[in-house]
Symmetry: D2
Subunit: 399 residues, 4 copies
């Protein structure tokens, strides 16, 4: 049996293995339909409403292309390994919660999505009578052929290739377009490690520049940043009220467990609750809370719903404290609050390490067999710049 899925990015995605069909049909995977890939970025880029499920399918497609490219170069990859690697990439983000990165560790307090992904894969492995065991080994880098893990989670993995390509497509930001087609053709394996052939250097350079541009222009776009920080603050407030015993916050849905009961311990029953949680619950809560008596909670909720976001400014130096105080005073007066003004006026730091951007050691395999990290190559564009972390200070204000 074979099924093809229309994908506006790659044309068609082909599914033809029973295990892959089973994964896609599993409620854990279908839940990813209800999680936005780019959190609140759609408030700036109206097209950016694509889902985690779509990204997972896209990365799966690229994995297929990468593997078939490597096989055509004589790298030995068995049928079973191929399916396992595809299964692993399909599930690599299955542990993401509502609004993905924006709420990482905030709603499911203290939990990182990779930890949850692994737990969910293990639970699915029970359902599937162990058919995911090799996929889990690859995902956790316990499988001997390291390059399979590197295709899932490395400096030049299919995860990044898909999200850059896909996010660029749905936002319409041409600056993020990478030559994924060409990069895939340049992949190779040497001493068991994933590498890029010499003539792929320009494509890698383009990839790194595109990634950098997407961070500053899209992922850390100041308006997106403002919205996502407001969302974090809104949840903080809700947790505070919940801790104080406010029962009016309850939504009747999967959020309630995390608001009132979850203590940070990861266990099976918790996983069941988590698997019921998605963007819908969070959005519904915001709509409900927009009519909650707590001023801060309803204000933030209404503002997010109707896109009345806090003003935000970014700069290279910290903001002047006197100015911050003044803005706070102003907000206090306007809103007629005292201490709670801090939910509407605050400062912080954003940097490109937020998406693990720091480490760019990509190995290049030269024709003569020499291997060099791309950062050490005589190429002024890459070696001095991309690797440098960049930090920006922001201030959000009411006026």
């Amino acid at each position: 049996m074979q099924k093809i899925i229309n994908d506006p990015v790659y044309g068609f995605i082909t599914v033809n293995d029973p295990l892959i069909f089973d994964i896609i049909a599993h409620p854990f995977f279908q839940r990813l339909r209800r999680i936005h890939q780019m959190a609140l970025a759609y408030l700036v880029y109206p097209g950016a409403v694509h889902t985690r499920l779509h990204h997972a399918l896209g990365a799966y497609h690229l994995m297929g292309s990468a593997i078939s490219e490597l096989k055509s170069k004589g790298i030995i990859i068995t049928e079973e390994e191929e399916v396992a690697a595809k299964a692993a990439i399909l599930l690599h983000d299955v542990g993401h919660g509502p609004f993905s990165h924006a709420l990482e560790g905030r709603l499911v307090k203290g939990a990182h999505h990779e930890q949850l992904s692994l737990l969910m894969m293990q639970a699915m492995n029970d359902d599937f009578d162990g058919r995911l065991t090799m996929a889990i080994d690859i995902f956790t880098n316990k499988y001997p052929k390291k390059f399979l893990h590197q295709l899932i989670s490395g400096q030049i993995d299919v995860d990044r290739m898909d999200y850059l390509t896909r996010d660029s497509f749905f936002t319409g930001v041409s600056e993020g377009v990478i030559g994924y087609h060409r990069i895939l053709k340049m992949l190779t394996v040497h001493d068991g490690e994933l590498m890029v052939e010499e003539k792929g250097i320009f494509s890698i350079e383009k990839f790194l520049v595109a990634r950098r541009q997407m961070y500053w222009q899209v992922y850390l776009h100041k308006t997106v940043l403002s919205a996502e920080i407001m969302l974090v603050n809104l949840l903080k407030r809700a947790f505070l009220l919940a801790a104080d015993g406010d029962k009016n916050l309850a939504t009747g849905g999967a959020m309630d467990f995390f608001l009132y009961q979850f203590d940070g311990t990861i266990y099976r029953e918790m996983l069941l609750q988590f698997s019921r949680l998605d963007d819908t619950d969070c959005s519904f809560a915001i709509k409900k809370w927009s009519q909650h008596p707590d001023f801060v909670l309803s204000q933030l909720s209404n503002r997010l719903l109707n896109r009345q976001l806090l003003k935000i400014r970014l700069q290279s130096e910290p903001f002047d404290e006197a100015m911050v105080k003044e803005k706070l005073a102003e907000a206090s007066q306007i809103l007629n609050v005292t201490e709670d003004a801090k939910y509407f006026v605050f400062t912080g730091e954003a940097d490109n390490t937020m998406y693990n951007m720091g480490d760019d050691k990509i190995n290049i395999l030269f024709k003569n067999g020499v291997v060099k990290d791309i950062a050490s190559i005589d190429n002024p564009l890459i070696h001095q710049t991309i690797s440098a972390p960049i930090k920006k200070f922001y201030i959000c204000t009411l006026t």
Copy 2:
């Protein structure tokens, strides 16, 4: 002031009029962010998660292009008329409820979205001190320059041009691509009516064929049809239970009013409730109802959530009644229900008139000044075929 919005379909959309800014910032318009343009089509086409708001912005963009094209041909359109036409197209779908067409008249019983759009525009006009009056006149075809209304709602309007282009883009179905760029360049006005220049005939032909293909391949795709009928049945069941006094259906959100209180009368307070209603409420209800004690309701809810859809077949003739009975009996046994099996096995008809596809009288203006309906032109492709309604019979079954 000028703002540009990234759109993956057209590149950039420019906003530079105060009225347009005010419309976009209004909560009625922002609500369209939370309504899928293509209802449940994303269950087949994972990219089809774009929103009504995005479509409204796209149609607004095409309206700007159309008007500037017409002006370059000497058609007189004042600044005020231009803004009014843009305002009208931005708001033409503002009255859509959750899941748009799929639930038209089902959730907000008996109400059609165009009626609601008008009511909402009138309410906004109050907020805007009458600045929407001309837009409303154009929308309701009371404005003397008829071609402005025809650009919004006619056989070759910017609404259709945008949704075909946009839906084709997000589904990845290349069959729906139309040459909107060229069609816009071929528009003209003659005797106050919108027409297409002679050399645009091929582009119109392409447009009509693309539309037809999108209906059968996408909008009425059998799996999409199955999902949308399941959603309608699910709501029917909920209304039935609500009418019987079941209070467990209440979600605590905007749905409750329509489940328990709304009597079909349209009035101001009702409009307020309606303006709070979007896909989130409906999706949240489905998630909640997936654990409801009523078997039919929870079954349908779970199946929609996890994409376990009813099987569906389409054919040109009605289905054999004996076969239907047999399928019903089978379902009764499997589900251990009697009469309620009809929620899982049923027949119906689908046709392309569902989207007002019937009427294709597009006027062509020939170089010599003659005007002809495209259907009467010596062009075998168009005249015999496109206009014909096509009806198909479907059956949905459990097995």
Copy 3:
């Protein structure tokens, strides 16, 4: 060894077989770089300057995709057959002369390009020690697996799929875009014949409509038609003068043989001359002849060079003879010629059979095993229209 070629249409084209490398490196194949794929269409569509070589590479790429798709469905195709089919498609047009279709049989009098393609393949087969034998068998439909020939030359072959896609890409005419990606995925083999799966019907419909639109909008665009007929007339005049002993026509290049010596007999020495002939020779001759003393020859040459084309009109009925006479008289006076006015005023017929468009018997394989010609399927768009030949009358005039 593996080489990838950048193609703006498909991304990358991979070459990895020694025979394919040898074919591409052969002077016969390299000559195709110097033949425009679309003759003089670039006078209307400035981007349409792509070459026969590019089309051959593109069709080769689609052949690879088609074969790999068929193999994934269990159709047995050996490594040797795969390379042979690819070799055959690379060379299917190798016998095209200058300006391809536009001068078919006019310059190399009486010879059809398919006949010349075969001769050239046979000559190359000698160079290649018989390694092209199977490719030639497939090309001439002598090979038992008929579907391989049908992929090269049939109703839904990779030749057509590439030229529609490529010509549409380079002209920028979106009406010609076909879903080649999807069509390829729908191909199958049944009883040894190439067929399309049931769910590919819409894509085939789109393919047929796109082809029809490309004929009328591009290939037979009236201005293109005018230019190509002028080119034919220009050559006619040159042949006439040459037959009268005019030695001034000689260019010093490969044209001279065909102007003065070629008697229509196809033989080895002639093939050598032919293999030296390409668009360059023809364009150079036109430039040279633009200063020739013969009025008709220099007029037509200058007009083609500087895009001062004859006016042209198309209609469904023959043109009125009186009007033609009047136009002829007018031209005689303006140009101060008598009989030769016929080179500047003339009528003729164009129809879509010019590109073998008539026969559209594409077999559809239904899920239940039934095979039907697409024209017999209950689909009003296809069955009444596409197959009908359309004839148009044209008149070219000076004024």
Copy 4:
């Protein structure tokens, strides 16, 4: 009157001014149809066969967009200035000879294309009764509104924007894609100078990186370099033979004047000869010379015709002299020549200043009114890297 031209890159190009129609219809402009935009790059990138005429039309289109953008920001540009700027950009490259940059100053010895462009514009201005006077003033930067000249020839002009976009499109090298749409929207004029608004910084960064990548990956691709140097050497040889009195080189076309008569002086009669010269003449000569008795000439000609290019290597340091000598000796022996081996084995330097890449002073206008050169902005990617010239050494060898 208005005419639209299909362009695969921008969709449609609109022409609606009598002067623009006259320019396009002029033989000087039509001649650009017969000059490849990218010289011999098509030997590596088969799609790169687009013409100078197409580039001129594309740059004209961008000029229209840029001007309309600036006007919408309140910059005053009269109707006459707009047409003049468009005329100037249409003609900015009209003085290019065969194979453009590759033969700059080689065939028309010592002449630079900008000098010839000006002469040709002046000659056309005579034909047009002075209607090109303002266009010439803008082209030569004598017109007071400097920004109009900067749009034609500056660091961020529409010439570069078009050629990067177009060359990237036709080669299929996605690394060269720039966000021209966005850059145009970010253009502004401050103190009479063309500038880029602050929020356009990322797009400019992308533009500079794309340009750099196109130089190394496409324009100076080693195989393209090899072919273009071979072409230069071939011409050198022909000039040497011609100087020695060899009359067999004569082609009967426009080349002959430059081979035998042209002494480097620019005058009217010479301009007429030049206006008859295009790629056709050069290609025809190569075909003819492939059978010339001189070994070097016929070898190089045949090799170019059949794409049997010299091997080439690039590195950061000069090549070892002993190795060069050895390669020379080897070639002497193989070809059975002595001194002439230097046509087949030689070294040289390539750098990115070849296309005036050095100077990147693009002014950014900040919201607070401050103007800064982009190189001085706190942006590590740009300031350390792009501006640095890069030099590479190459060696071409027979084996």
